[in-house]
């Protein structure tokens, strides 16, 4: 773009790299909130997305949980969908041709009940046109076995990661659960297992009770909390994980606006995923791209990459200079 004469507005460079995968901008759609993208084709410009992450795919089709599956909570919602999906074979034949024709990176979220299932799904996705990456769900709270168990045990998390890596012909992103006592341990295990990037956070496990019926609102009893309510928790976890791993971190959790997304990038995220906001505003992800571009122009950033991990921490001061509260009072 060096040939452009001065005075011509040059679009800001929003490109980011998730390992070997280059995205046109740092905005992706979170798995389970964007269907298989086609649902949104008349409501936004899908080509504006940095990447699309599709609804989690298992080896065999799953019917999902009985209703009620969702309930609104303060500034958020609980869901217990139960990973309803068409299964990997139907995904490849029915959903993938449309997605491949979009010519945007398509990241396939996968989940299994065993290491063998994770391996088998990955093997079936290898060589499929249009698949640009795999996101490994080791963190869904809404299934009876597998899922979250892999995400809470560092050894299992590493084992799943390396199992998928062995079969994958595209970069592998591993999605972490926040429902652990120290997420840094899991993050390091996943990095050691060979992950190309880490995405976090999946939903926080929660519950809602109907006082009138004295019953849980969700048929599954517990569900995953998402939406603006979880953003501060997500920011903190992204900040902590980004400090201890050297692979790219993707921030997820209550992101509705460009401001939210930029905060995650300052905390150390290379890119972000838009989740629950897609339900409120089907073009939320495109609005976030627009907002990030506007910010980059206003701040005269040559590349949005310069923002990643750019958080300014309070200057460390010698202990003796920190004012003490008067212990006598």
């Amino acid at each position: 773009m060096g040939e452009l004469s001065p005075g011509i507005n040059v679009l800001p460079d929003l490109r980011v790299n998730i390992g070997s995968l280059e995205l046109a901008n740092p905005v992706m759609t979170a798995s389970g909130t964007f269907g298989y993208a086609r649902e949104f084709e008349n409501l936004m410009n899908l080509h504006r997305l940095g990447a699309v992450i599709v609804k989690g795919i298992s080896l065999h089709p799953r019917a999902g949980n009985p209703p009620p599956r969702i309930v609104e909570t303060a500034c958020g919602m609980l869901n217990a969908i139960g990973l309803q999906n068409v299964g990997v074979d139907r995904f490849i034949t029915e959903k993938m041709p449309y997605l491949a024709a979009l010519h945007i990176p398509v990241i396939v979220n996968i989940l299994g009940d065993s290491l063998a299932e994770y391996e088998e799904i990955t093997a079936r996705l290898a060589g499929i046109a249009g698949v640009a990456g795999i996101e490994v769900n080791i963190s869904c709270p809404n299934v009876k076995k597998g899922g979250v168990a892999f995400g809470t045990d560092p050894a299992m998390a590493a084992a799943v990661t390396s199992a998928v890596k062995k079969k994958a012909d595209v970069p592998v992103m591993v999605k972490l659960s926040p429902n652990v006592s120290d997420i840094k341990v899991i993050a390091r295990a996943v990095e050691d297992g060979g992950a190309d990037s880490i995405s976090l956070i999946n939903t926080l496990i929660g519950m809602a009770i109907d006082l009138k019926t004295k019953q849980p609102v969700l048929a599954n009893v517990i569900g995953g909390l998402s939406g603006p309510a979880i953003k501060p928790v997500a920011l903190r976890l992204v900040y902590e994980v980004a400090k201890v791993v050297s692979i790219p971190v993707i921030g997820i959790g209550g992101i509705e606006s460009a401001e939210d997304a930029l905060e995650f990038m300052l905390a150390g995220a290379t890119a972000v995923q838009i989740g629950t906001a897609n339900f409120l505003n089907p073009r939320a992800s495109e609005d976030v791209v627009d907002g990030i571009a506007a910010y980059a122009v206003a701040e005269k950033l040559t590349s949005i990459r310069s923002l990643i991990g750019g958080l300014r921490l309070p200057a460390a001061r010698p202990q003796s200079l920190i004012p003490m509260k008067n212990p006598a009072k």
């Binding site: 649902e39 949104f40 409501l43 609104e72 869901n79 939406g227 509705e256 339900f279 409120l280």
Partner: protein
């Protein structure tokens, strides 16, 4: 299929009873392409709480771009909605879902209970527009008491179909349940039933129709987050096993497509 996110202006708020309201919105793009039985997702305010859009069936559309919703205050969202005043704006997303499939060659029996009356004005209007003569068509409306029915009746009476009413307390029409009224009426031969109301009412209406081999369409309700097939929150057991999603496959179903609790 066109769908829009439209910033709609409130033009009128009518309070029919303590909790029942009708809201008129200037919402021309959605009103211009909506079909009877379809719904909209409404954001009651711009903030993060309440977070989710709420589904509302479309009560009526008009050629001047107005769209009406008929609702009852049942929680926080509808409470906020009831306090809207003309001139305020709301984000409306729609039209969504699969509406009623009107069979213009068959006499219509349109059955609504309680708040289930909401989508039926639009349906009656379209029904009478499609047919040269709707004098053979029946409209059967039920509610707890007169006050829930009376303010709406004038709008329905304009179309010339035969109207029967039932109230739990007998304050208007038949005293008792709508199903008793339906059983007592001679339904026109070869008719199709279009129904919307409480779950229990639709279950008995669909069962009556099944026993008499009458085609029956029902409009069902569900909680949902997105209204467009992304969240998969609005699942409902289907007759052939598995789940159907109310936002995409419904809200109007052939009664036979659904699993009814007996």
């Amino acid at each position: 299929m066109s769908q829009y996110q439209e910033k709609a202006t409130v033009t009128r708020v009518e309070q029919f009873s303590e909790k029942n309201y009708r809201l008129t919105l200037d919402c021309p793009r959605i009103a211009g392409c909506a079909q009877p039985g379809q719904f909209v997702m409404l954001r009651v305010g711009p903030g993060k709480d309440p977070l989710l859009r709420r589904p509302f069936s479309i009560h009526q559309t008009r050629a001047d771009g107005r769209l009406q919703l008929y609702f009852k205050v049942v929680g926080r969202g509808t409470d906020i909605l009831a306090q809207k005043r003309p001139g305020e704006t709301l984000s409306v997303f729609g039209p969504l879902g699969r509406g009623y499939r009107l069979d213009a060659t068959s006499p219509s029996v349109i059955v609504g209970g309680g708040l289930g009356i909401a989508p039926l004005l639009f349906l009656v209007k379209e029904n009478c527009r499609l047919k040269n003569d709707c004098s053979k068509d029946l409209l059967v409306l039920g509610a707890r008491e007169k006050i829930e029915l009376e303010p709406l009746l004038a709008d329905f009476q304009a179309f010339g179909l035969t109207i029967h009413t039932a109230t739990d307390d007998g304050s208007l029409g038949h005293r008792g349940f709508i199903i008793e009224l339906m059983q007592s009426l001679p339904l026109p031969a070869g008719c199709t039933v279009y129904c919307c109301g409480p779950e229990a009412m639709m279950a008995v209406v669909s069962s009556l129709c099944r026993s008499r081999a009458i085609p029956c369409q029902v409009s069902v309700e569900s909680v949902m987050a997105c209204g467009m097939g992304a969240c998969l929150g609005c699942s409902r057991p289907a007759a052939n096993g598995g789940y159907t999603h109310v936002c995409l496959n419904g809200p109007v179903y052939d009664a036979e497509e659904l699993l009814w609790e007996s």
